[in-house]
């Protein structure tokens, strides 16, 4: 085996006979590709091993009756688990919870993130300090962020928010209040990341262009909508894609707040509780696969939109 692989390059060189210039080029290309292969292989192999195995196993389990509290009764049941999932009221409710939290928090994050990015872009004094402080929510452990906000919201724990707003009932005892608290935590934690992704796009907008438009009499808002936004469209789409996919898998914040009580459980919660609390591997895996397909669908729609939207932006030049 070893002898083969050492001999192979030499043999390839000997047999490669063509016009001199072209052969030199292809030899170099081939050597470069071979080196690239050796450098990339370990990472790709490990990535496939750690990721592909569980994904494939999830798909296989989702087609089986497999429950840990009934060992030895595993059987292939085709798409029955999926039929059960799609018929379950709980699944649709949790899908709606996830979608509501994702859409509202990403929308707010985008609006605030854009303002924060503009502030980081324009503020000259203490810029480093502003960026450091804005990074704190991003870098903080999600569980810690969730506790910080939970204790701020909870009336029983003496939270400051209900007293500030003059609320008498515990906001975390009903669905609306829990939603608001969860979304606020998400927004607080993720707006800095959104802002950083948008900031990268902002830095691509040439100042001269904005200056010229200003001289031509364009208002601040017109300059923003007609120049800044079109030029940073790719960055906007990347930021929205990243945050949407990340928000859609929300788990830790909801777990800390309510463990999905008050009708706020997400799809990740449903998958987790079916797998590890009800120990129903088959059904839980089906939920996992559906969650995975939703994420794939979101990515697909965004990338299609990304391609379509990126072209007019370059044409506008």
């Amino acid at each position: 085996m070893t002898g083969d692989s050492i001999a192979a390059p030499a043999a390839a060189e000997a047999t490669a006979t063509g016009p001199g210039r072209k052969r030199r080029l292809s030899d170099r290309t081939r050597a470069e590709r071979r080196l690239a292969f050796y450098l990339v292989a370990p990472a790709v192999i490990v990535m496939i091993a750690v990721t592909a195995y569980p994904i494939i196993d999830t798909i296989i389990l989702s087609l089986q009756r497999a429950s840990l509290d009934k060992p030895g009764q595993n059987a292939f049941i085709g798409l029955d688990n999926y039929g059960y999932v799609f018929k379950a009221h709980l699944f649709w409710m949790d899908l709606i919870h996830t979608a509501v939290i994702t859409v509202i928090s990403v929308t707010i994050e985008f609006a605030l993130g854009m303002l924060l990015a503009l502030a980081m872009h324009r503020v000259i004094f203490l810029r480093g300090l502003l960026r450091s402080i804005a990074l704190v929510p991003y870098a903080i452990v999600a569980v810690v962020a969730a506790y910080a906000w939970q204790y701020s919201w909870s009336l029983d724990d003496g939270g400051w928010i209900p007293r500030l707003l003059g609320i008498t009932g515990d906001p975390l005892s009903h669905q609306f209040g829990t939603y608001v608290a969860i979304i606020m935590t998400e927004v607080w934690k993720n707006t800095p990341y959104m802002a950083l992704l948008l900031l990268a796009g902002l830095s691509l907008v040439p100042d001269e262009l904005l200056e010229a438009a200003k001289i031509d009499g364009a208002s601040t808002w017109q300059r923003f909508i007609k120049i800044t936004v079109p030029l940073m469209k790719p960055a906007i789409l990347v930021a929205l894609l990243f945050r949407t996919l990340d928000a859609f898998r929300i788990f830790d914040v909801i777990y800390i707040f309510s463990e999905g009580a008050n009708n706020t459980a997400s799809l990740s919660q449903l998958s987790y509780s079916t797998l590890l609390e009800r120990l129903n591997l088959g059904l839980g895996s089906a939920v996992s696969v559906v969650l995975f397909l939703c994420v794939g669908l979101i990515a697909f729609v965004f990338i299609k939109g990304f391609g379509a939207a990126a072209n007019p932006a370059t044409e506008a030049h």
Binding site: V44, D57, L204, R249
Partner: protein
Amino acid sequence: MSVKARQRTGWSLAFVVVVVVSLVPVFWLIMLSLKTPESATDGSFIPHHWTLHNYRDIFNQTVFTAALRNSIGIGLISTTLAVLLASSAAYAIARLDFPGKQTILAVALLVTLFPQVSLVGPLYNLWRQIGLFNTWPGLIIPYLTFALPLAIYVLSTFFREIPWELEQAAQIDGATPFQAFTKVIAPLAAPGLATTFIIVFLICWNDFVFAISLTATNAAKTVPAAIAQFPGVSQFTQPIGDIAAAAVVVTIPVMLLVLLFQRRIVAGLTAGAVKG
């Protein structure tokens, strides 16, 4: 002049709002951690009786000290493995021309955004069969699922910015591609490597889904999972002071890293977002 002044006031106001909103919840946690258990729920921002009782309490509990050790150990090992494997791959992606490198980057990106809970079922099942449940490797392996692709992605953007010509110059001077990598490029790449290490470590440090699914005891439970399962005085009360103190302890290293490496972290997080 007055327009300029008004703009200055506007941005200063924005600055103050960002600072207050970013820091208030953290400040609230710190103050909670310094209150006595009896006054923890009094709703006051400033503790009436300052105490370090909660900190002494958590450091006397093996639940917390073991979790801290697990979090640091598992985080460092996962990050080191991921950055080591990723550095050669990212080098190839940034410097060499070969088919499929865009695919590798795209797949890496998608894998980092993969819902982790989708991997939990089979891992839980398999880990219990082969004895990896509730062990360090039992968490390190799943951490690689997001740490490795993230490291590849962030590192390749850093490696792209290294001046190409130096490597060619080294090769002209007789260095092999491997020597050019270790002697010339690696030192230039060190800041990017360090930043990637920090970003990946923060993500491992943050994990919650795998930690509560694949661990059961002090042997491997990490801090986020341990905090969420802190034993209260009774089943119905949460040990608020202990949780707050533990939360502050895990936040301090994160804050220090962010304050010290702010500029690099911003560069690492944003570089990949805009493809030239």
